[in-house]
């Protein structure tokens, strides 16, 4: 019962080395373009682009499955909804459900589009360290500071949250084990029973988290953290030729995807 999250695959491929801002812009633009075009040909272009990027990243194919698995039910649900309720000339009807070739076609297309979306998105999350991603987003959000949106503070919050996810997972695992050693059972029983079984796990986890938040805030203040002042970065972001090439390629792919 080990708790894991599939997100970042450390590496040094060309994709890993790209600037997170460039990657984020490219992936967002591709995602939008993907939904602007309703043809298999377009889908194929985007899928190929995603596939090539994924191959270049050197991430094992099995990791795509890890990223994709949590979304499987969403794809399944999309497919079912489209298949069962889509309009069209039904070749099979039962109660309120109508199966038609047009419906099947639409369902397949929409599901495949989701798969391609996850593929493109997973290239970003698998090859970009969460902290680099947050830095990139903070930079991209800078114009919002004019509107008094505290972007740096928000980025810091996200950074801290990301930083503590692995820690919390380890502690969650430890506390669950400790309570299992005392006879707790998290796997059997109905929903209510299972929810109640989590009380001995969640109470210590919350207490621990609040205590840690307190200590972290003190430690940050002791090292002169003050909100609202501009901080310089230890690792400034550098966009280079490769990033310009990425954006140009992205533009070309989008053009191709929309025009074929």
């Amino acid at each position: 019962m080990k708790v894991t999250v599939a997100q970042y695959y450390p590496g040094s491929s060309p994709i890993h080395r790209l600037d997170p801002r460039a990657k984020f812009i490219a992936v967002s633009a591709l995602a939008v373009a993907l939904f602007l075009r309703d043809s298999y040909a377009g889908l194929l272009v985007f899928a190929a682009a995603g596939g090539v990027a994924y191959a270049l990243s050197g991430v094992p194919a099995s990791w795509f499955w890890r990223a994709f698995r949590p979304l499987l039910w969403l794809v399944g649900l999309t497919f079912l909804a489209q298949v069962l309720f889509a309009p069209g000339d039904p070749f099979f009807s039962f109660w309120i459900f109508h199966l038609s070739w047009a419906g099947l076609d639409l369902a397949a297309f929409l599901s495949l589009r989701l798969v391609v979306l996850v593929l493109i998105g997973s290239v970003l999350t698998l090859t970009t360290a969460p902290l680099a991603l947050t830095d990139g987003l903070a930079w991209l959000g800078r114009p919002l500071r004019r509107l008094r949106v505290p972007t740096d503070e928000l980025a810091l919050m996200v950074t801290i949250a990301l930083r503590f996810i692995p820690t919390l997972l380890v502690e969650l695992d430890q506390i669950m084990r400790a309570q299992r050693a005392r006879g707790a059972d998290f796997r059997s029983g109905g929903l209510g029973q299972r929810a109640r079984a989590l009380v001995p796990v969640l109470v210590p986890l919350f207490v621990l988290s609040f205590r840690r938040a307190d200590e972290l805030a003190l430690a940050m203040e002791a090292r002169c953290y003050r909100p609202g002042i501009v901080r310089t970065r230890l690792h400034p972001l550098h966009a280079g030729t490769a990033d310009a090439v990425l954006l140009a390629l992205t533009a070309a792919i989008i053009a191709a995807g929309l025009l074929v």
Binding site: Q174, A178, R182, G183, D185, P200
Partner: protein
């Protein structure tokens, strides 16, 4: 009766009096790229009522071994035998209930609104009757040095660090384990609480509980445990009785461990280190 030698029904491992035996245990943690082996071919035996010090550098597999013995992780190879019978999914899962495990920093597991309630969690999960639970809680809290009359209604988080540690211990003792595993129970305790905890463990040992104590504190291990098991990167480096042998060549040298203070003292005094006393009191008696 010497004349009526009756054959004992064959067990899976028919040696009497062995409370815990591990046979070729192997376990590895699955990590993203390659599994990390944590235990390799770990085998040892511990008599009922015995006490075993589990020593070894950080990351040598001490905690993993305790988790596997308690059944929180299933061994990939080998078997854990409790009272000579294989414990585990294929063996006798109920045997595992007689194994108590006190985690590293066990106070993290406290969750209930009162000390009493927290200690009662384990016994209730065992399905004991209300009276049995009450009796077990009283006994365990007394044993842990937290008289239920004084501490029963206190909030666990309002207790001091040392009291929390002992309360967590009581929560395990209340399930009346016959084999008690402790994962570095002395970490970050002040000297007085350490002494109290050592006293509690000695009392448990005297009452016949089999102890396995994972620790970095060789002196405490020496004063509490009859035998030792030294792990080195998941393998058994030393198993069995403490043996400091001839001068200089003692068993612990290989493993970043020093020998117990009293053993060194005995060596320096020119006495046989194998006869070194276990406690300061015994040393004083021998020297006076």
């Amino acid at each position: 009766m010497s004349g009526s030698a009756s054959s004992v029904a064959p067990h899976e491992d028919a040696r009497p009096g062995i409370a815990l035996a591990c046979r070729g245990l192997g376990f590895s943690y699955s990590e993203a790229r390659a599994p990390i082996p944590a235990l390799r071919e770990v085998s040892f035996e511990l008599c009922a009522g015995g006490s075993l010090a589990l020593l070894g550098a950080s990351g040598s597999g001490k905690s993993t071994l305790l988790q596997v013995v308690r059944g929180l992780d299933e061994a990939e190879t080998g078997a854990v035998l409790l009272d000579g019978r294989a414990a585990g999914d294929v063996g006798y899962p109920e045997l595992r209930r007689e194994v108590g495990l006190v985690f590293q920093v066990p106070e993290l597991q406290l969750f209930a609104a009162t000390a009493r309630e927290d200690v009662a969690f384990g016994p209730r999960r065992l399905g004991w009757s209300g009276d049995e639970v009450e009796a077990a809680v009283d006994e365990a809290m007394d044993l842990a040095g937290l008289p239920p009359a004084d501490f029963g209604d206190r909030h666990p988080y309002a207790l001091s660090g040392g009291e929390q540690r002992r309360l967590a211990l009581a929560g395990v003792l209340a399930m009346r384990p016959r084999l008690l595993l402790l994962d570095e129970p002395f970490v970050s305790l002040d000297p007085r609480t350490r002494r109290e905890l050592a006293r509690i463990l000695r009392r448990l040992k005297d009452s016949g509980v089999t102890l396995v104590l994972a620790t970095h504190d060789v002196d405490l291990a020496w004063s509490l445990c009859d035998e030792l098991l030294v792990l080195d990167r998941g393998r058994v480096a030393v198993a069995g009785a403490w043996d400091f042998g001839a001068a200089g060549g003692h068993l612990l040298a290989a493993d970043r461990l020093r020998e117990p203070f009293l053993v060194t003292l005995w060596r320096r005094l020119g006495r046989d280190p194998r006869e070194a006393p276990r406690t300061a009191a015994a040393a004083a008696e021998a020297l006076s």
